[in-house]
């Protein structure tokens, strides 16, 4: 019995050593916003390249930035660009920089669960800011009702659901609220994990969606696909030109149109509250954070190969998962930037 156990042990060890040699494992972690997209990509890419496994864990954008800076993962992913201080910390720690690569674009939607209301609601920026500041507490508040004539809203308390982890989705959401509400800007600000005035915390886009789905009279914000794939309603938002826009891929592309032409070299750009009649105001790029220098050449080449594929063939998977493809100008610019990875 003991010998058998010992033998089993030895076999297991040997097996895992041999195994380790034949496959290349690359680890990444970060944003939950593009997680459905990335898990599909890495799955498809693994089918094409059986010897390469890219393991992606959705721990939140804040986590992506932290872990890639710590060097505990090979690459990070985030829906908020790293700020100057974070870039400097990275530079100091590694002696080389880190690059941002936009992969797809998405919309953050206001999703809700109000028993008896199946209509798509309209939200003014003021209503959204008011709800998330805790100033608007009932669903039948005039600020919400006035934009939704014809819909009977209940007099129930609003349950606000937000993220409990450091999140890029939160950044996009609060970045937008900061742009449209001075009070929000002063009291809360834009960031990955702000001090929320009200609400419940859910972990990840998955957690917020789950909580909204399970909690009557709740409102939360999630990436478009989480609302769509879970069949919970989401509302239109009034954009900077005064039209209510339903979140859609076209509306996201419209929001990115301006930024696409004037993309900075480091790709760090915000497209919330973008101009344009058709633009959905809470849209964003999402980025992969890839170190400039790799000590392991095989990992570097594998990642470069993956990036080229993702920007080319990979883009075709985007729309079926409710992400908007990157504008052509941006793709062209990125393909050049890939050469910076050494």
């Amino acid at each position: 019995m003991k010998r058998l156990a010992g033998l089993f042990l030895v076999v297991l060890c040997l097996a895992s050593i041999v195994w380790a040699d034949s496959t290349l494992s690359i680890n990444g972690a970060g944003a939950t916003f593009p997680y459905p997209m990335y898990s599909k990509w890495f799955d498809e890419y693994h089918k094409k390249n059986a010897n390469l496994q890219i393991n992606y864990q959705s721990i939140g954008s804040g986590g992506g930035i932290k872990q890639v800076t710590e060097g505990t993962v090979d690459f990070g992913a985030s829906d908020l660009p790293m700020n100057e201080e974070q870039l400097k910390t990275y530079q100091d720690k590694h002696g080389s920089g880190i690059l941002h690569f936009p992969t797809v674009m998405g919309a953050v939607v206001a999703t809700y669960n109000i028993p008896g209301v199946s209509a798509d609601l309209n939200f003014t920026p003021e209503a959204l800011a008011g709800i998330f500041l805790g100033k608007i507490t009932k669903w039948n508040d005039p600020a919400i009702a006035s934009a939704n004539s014809g819909v009977t809203l209940p007099a129930n308390d609003i349950v606000v659901v937000h993220r409990a982890d450091g999140s890029g989705t939160t950044f996009i959401w609060t970045d937008y609220l900061s742009k449209i509400s001075d009070e929000w800007k002063k009291t809360v600000g834009a960031g990955a994990s702000p001090k929320w005035p009200v609400g419940l915390g859910g972990k990840g886009n998955e957690g917020v969606t789950g909580t909204v789905k399970n909690t009557p009279n709740s409102i939360g914000y999630v990436e478009l696909i989480y609302a769509q794939s879970n069949k919970i309603p989401y509302g239109s938002v009034k954009n900077s030109s005064g039209t209510f826009v339903k979140p859609s891929l076209a509306a996201v592309s419209a929001a990115a149109a301006g930024a696409a032409k004037e993309m900075p070299d480091d790709f760090r750009v915000s497209i919330t509250n973008a101009p344009g009649k058709a633009a959905y105001p809470i849209s964003s790029f999402t980025w992969l954070l890839i170190p400039e220098k790799f000590s392991d050449a095989s990992k570097r080449d594998a990642l470069k190969g993956f990036l080229k594929w993702a920007l080319d063939d990979g883009q075709n998977y985007a729309e079926s998962l409710s992400y908007a493809k990157l504008p052509k100008e941006v793709v062209a610019k990125e393909l050049k930037a890939i050469n910076k990875i050494q």
Partner: protein, 329 residues
């Protein structure tokens, strides 16, 4: 640390250590030394743990000092960290848990120790021990899918309708929150209270009961007025043990507490606990101050459980010895 990691491979398969032992058979001193190294590594690991927690929380300890425990702002954007809501949430949920678990646990322990025939008592104790082995994440799973909807649909509205005038039971029924976390924790710690209290009650000398009964007490009176007071210390110990468990519990609480740092008199309000905030934010805390503040929370949790565990053990040991001492005379 180095001793333990390097020594591990040489130890070989565990239960099969006899061949390994035989090689060492000659020298008592060598054996003594080697086993000493293993024993010492336990102390080393523990010291290292304390050191890492202390060392890892230098920044917030210097910057915030004691205000860390008094302020309630947890704002990573502006690097302001106050632990009060987490400490509050941890204590409140643990408190709710004890209010529910203590009467139930002690009641069950009295039944097992005093009333049930040995066979039934042992069988039930066996099940209680199994219950204690159910992992936290399973309680969380059941909490999310059973307790939370039940709370939202029935229990919280019910409490609101009957006891809603109390500040404890006001506000919207989210389902998640302090009360729900407390209930889940109560279910988790009951087995600990039962097991330990039963042991302690069993150690109460027989003549104590017989004396009370022979003086004309009813069975309940002899139990409640003589046996339980005799075992009081040990029962308190079991409660402290349960409290320490409840404070440090992570997964189940994280899944049902609502994850929002609030201080509210209402038990319906969502909250946050120390362990839950570490679980949610540790991997993604950017910036040294943020990470170290979380480690300081870990340190707080460590100290809390350390004190409680020490206290519990003292009480249990003292009571058992008292019982044993009386038994011999």
């Amino acid at each position: 640390m180095a001793t333990s990691t390097t020594a591990v491979p040489s130890a070989g398969p565990v239960a099969g250590s006899r061949s390994f032992l035989s090689r060492l058979r000659d020298g008592d001193e060598i054996a003594r030394l080697i086993t000493f190294l293993f024993a010492a590594s336990v102390v080393l690991i523990t010291l290292l743990l304390v050191f890492e927690l202390w060392q890892g929380s230098v920044l917030p300890r210097h910057k915030f000092g004691f205000s860390f425990f008094r302020t309630s702002v947890w704002d990573p954007i502006f690097d302001q960290f106050g632990a009060l809501p987490f400490i509050y949430g941890t204590l409140v949920t643990a408190g709710v848990a004890l209010i529910i678990a203590v009467p139930l646990g002690i009641g069950a322990a009295i039944f097992l120790a005093e009333l049930a025939p040995a066979r039934i008592s042992d069988t039930l104790e066996f099940f209680i021990d199994l219950l204690a082995a159910v992992p936290s994440v399973i309680y969380g799973l059941l909490g999310v899918f059973i307790v939370v909807p039940l709370m939202r649909e029935y229990i919280q509205p019910g409490l609101k309708n009957t006891l809603g005038f109390l500040p404890l039971f006001q506000g919207p029924a989210y389902g998640v929150g302090f009360l729900t976390a407390g209930i889940v924790l109560a279910i988790m710690v009951i087995p600990y209270i039962i097991s330990v209290s039963r042991e302690v009650l069993l150690s109460v000398p027989r003549d104590q009961r017989e004396a009370a009964l022979s003086l004309g007490s009813t069975r309940w009176e002899s139990t409640w007025k003589v046996v339980v007071p005799f075992a009081r210390g040990g029962i308190m110990g079991s409660i402290f043990l349960a409290l320490a468990r409840a404070l440090g519990e992570t997964m189940a609480v994280t899944m049902v507490i609502g994850n929002t740092p609030t201080i509210s008199a209402s038990l319906f309000s969502p909250g946050y606990s120390i362990a839950a905030v570490i679980a949610n934010e540790f991997t993604e805390a950017t910036g040294a101050m943020y990470t170290q503040s979380l480690i300081e929370l870990g340190l707080v949790l460590f100290i809390l459980t350390f004190v409680l565990n020490g206290f519990a053990r003292l009480l249990i040991v003292a009571t058992s010895q008292r019982g044993a001492g009386m038994g011999h005379t």
